[in-house]
Symmetry: C2
Subunit: 334 residues, 2 copies
């Protein structure tokens, strides 16, 4: 079967392609009612659907943006994407989501692929491993917004959680309940991923503010597969930690697994606060106290910023880093 093109419609309606095109783009300013009607009928009879690929080629715009997340397994990523999608839908933009799987090589391929596909802009949760590429895009003024991670020395918008404040909330809450032996477990720090760095630095600072001495053996950051061992070290020592912050949802799952295998009672033996408000937080026994990121607002901001940059190439941002405040969801695990 042959696809119907604008020429077919033009012939069928006995007008020119230009006129059909005007019709399709709702430029009715000068169109005679009967012309309009003839075109309407031709379109209906033939079942014409315009070819967006051809239009994009001519218009040099695809009304599509790319979203590349470092790791789609984080609930933060999926929730933020939902918000981006909502905003884009409202404005007639489509999104293509790619998962770099924490792999800079994959990230590079996706960036190149999406640009070859002529997406109008990119929202990237950067792996941090393609500095020169990021820099080139910034220099070219390619519409770009970063989420969740700051890339040192790059002057482009970054949508960030106020990580320091998030950690402070957790530490303060523990301190209020009388805990002093507070630990933090988060996933690996290679490539200096911003939130992990900020969360650990913020942790030291928050302890200091409360006059609680920092104990290095309570600060751990490791690849997911080593977390069980790390927890063993932290929690089976002579003076084990009594309160623990999960640096993100993946760390939290490992902690819950450890707690389960070792029959640790929460919060009696170990108080727990997780960053990222996971879906099952209130279903768990005990219900999990978490620090929620305002994922919807963050995704919305990312999308709006990017769309502004796309629509106005000279769009000037008043600032580069947008910080969002987290919220402490007090439940039962502390």
């Amino acid at each position: 079967m042959k696809r119907i093109t604008i020429s077919d419609v033009a012939q069928h309606a006995e007008v020119s392609k230009s006129t059909v095109s005007q019709y399709m783009n709702k430029r009715f300013d000068y169109m005679a009612p009967k012309t309009k009607e003839r075109i309407r009928m031709a379109i209906e009879e033939l079942g014409y659907q315009p070819n967006i690929v051809a239009r994009s080629l001519k218009q040099k715009s695809t009304s599509t943006i790319g979203v590349i997340v470092a790791n789609i397994l984080h609930t933060f990523s999926t929730q933020t994407i939902r918000a981006v999608e909502d905003i884009c839908n409202e404005q007639g933009f489509h999104i293509i989501v790619c998962n770099a799987d924490d792999n800079p090589e994959k990230e590079r391929e996706y960036i190149e692929m999406l640009r070859a596909k002529q997406v109008d802009g990119l929202i990237i949760f950067p792996t941090g491993g393609n500095i020169e590429l990021y820099q080139r895009m910034v220099k070219e003024k390619y519409p770009l917004v970063f989420v969740d991670r700051i890339v040192d020395g790059l002057e482009t918008s970054s949508i960030m959680l106020d990580n320091e404040s998030a950690i402070k909330m957790a530490v303060d809450h523990f301190a209020e309940k009388g805990y002093e032996r507070i630990g933090i477990m988060t996933t690996s720090l290679h490539r200096h991923v911003t939130p992990r760095v900020e969360r650990i630095n913020g942790f030291r600072k928050a302890l200091g503010d409360k006059g609680i001495p920092v104990r290095e053996e309570y600060i751990k950051s490791m690849e997911v597969e080593f977390i069980q061992d790390g927890l063993h070290d932290m929690l089976s020592a002579d003076e084990p930690a009594r309160a623990l912050i999960a640096g993100n949802d993946l760390a939290l799952i490992e902690i819950l697994r450890y707690i389960k295998t070792n029959h640790i009672r929460v919060p009696e033996e170990l108080a727990l606060i997780g960053i990222d408000d996971v879906s099952f937080a209130s279903l768990f026994t005990p219900e999990l106290t978490t620090i929620a990121q305002p994922t919807f607002e963050m995704g919305k901001q990312a999308a709006e910023l990017l769309l502004n940059k796309i629509k106005d190439p000279d769009f000037i941002e008043e600032k580069h880093i947008y910080r969002f405040q987290p919220e402490l969801m007090i439940r039962q695990s502390c």
Copy 2:
């Protein structure tokens, strides 16, 4: 900044556009080594990246497929998509994922949008609400694969769980443990969504096989927001159900919420088996017994089938319905 095109490269290398195009497509059959080298250098110096939109227009193929899921909130959907993505990646295809949100209107818009974008084929987890549109695509021989749901009277591939067998596994396992007051709770049945229908019919059949009388008050299917009430009816009656099947992961979450608010002990007061092996099944207390769908195999089959149809327009399927066997993951909730 101006994007570099094939003409720029041709000029810079002092050859024709045709020759650059041959080079880009690795048709080196007759190319003189020095021509090759000149083009290579020009591309490097200019930082040329071909415009895939232009290529797609000419080739009438975008190497992209669309995936429209009825509801992305189901773990089944996300897991299946991952498999589809893997297979497509291997074969140089990209995917665009859309969520119809169980809304046929949205589904229709997405189908039209993706076809306008000239995707080479579609994998649809159908809402069931666009029969004529599905039919038109089948008639046009548009490359299409359905997942999870069969649309009555449509002759196209459908990738399905063996739902009857899944329910039988659950019922048999309950029966072995001596349960007779077995119930099932699943999400709404409007539009006769296949798995829900098959699961409920299979449920009646499985009970019959075991000689257990069917009690209508133990069979419930309702919109998520009414499930709490439905559970109340089923579990606070004079003779409450003692064992319960969650028809899918969303129903399971509602059941867990009910169990929590009402302090029901599992499995002592209520045994539980969920269809869909949710991520937190083994983290829960008690660990949840589930029926796992082979999501990877199902997604793989869907992708391979679609790619075959795309590559060979005359591809004939020997059958239309592909059934996959579930697996019982025995843990502690029964």
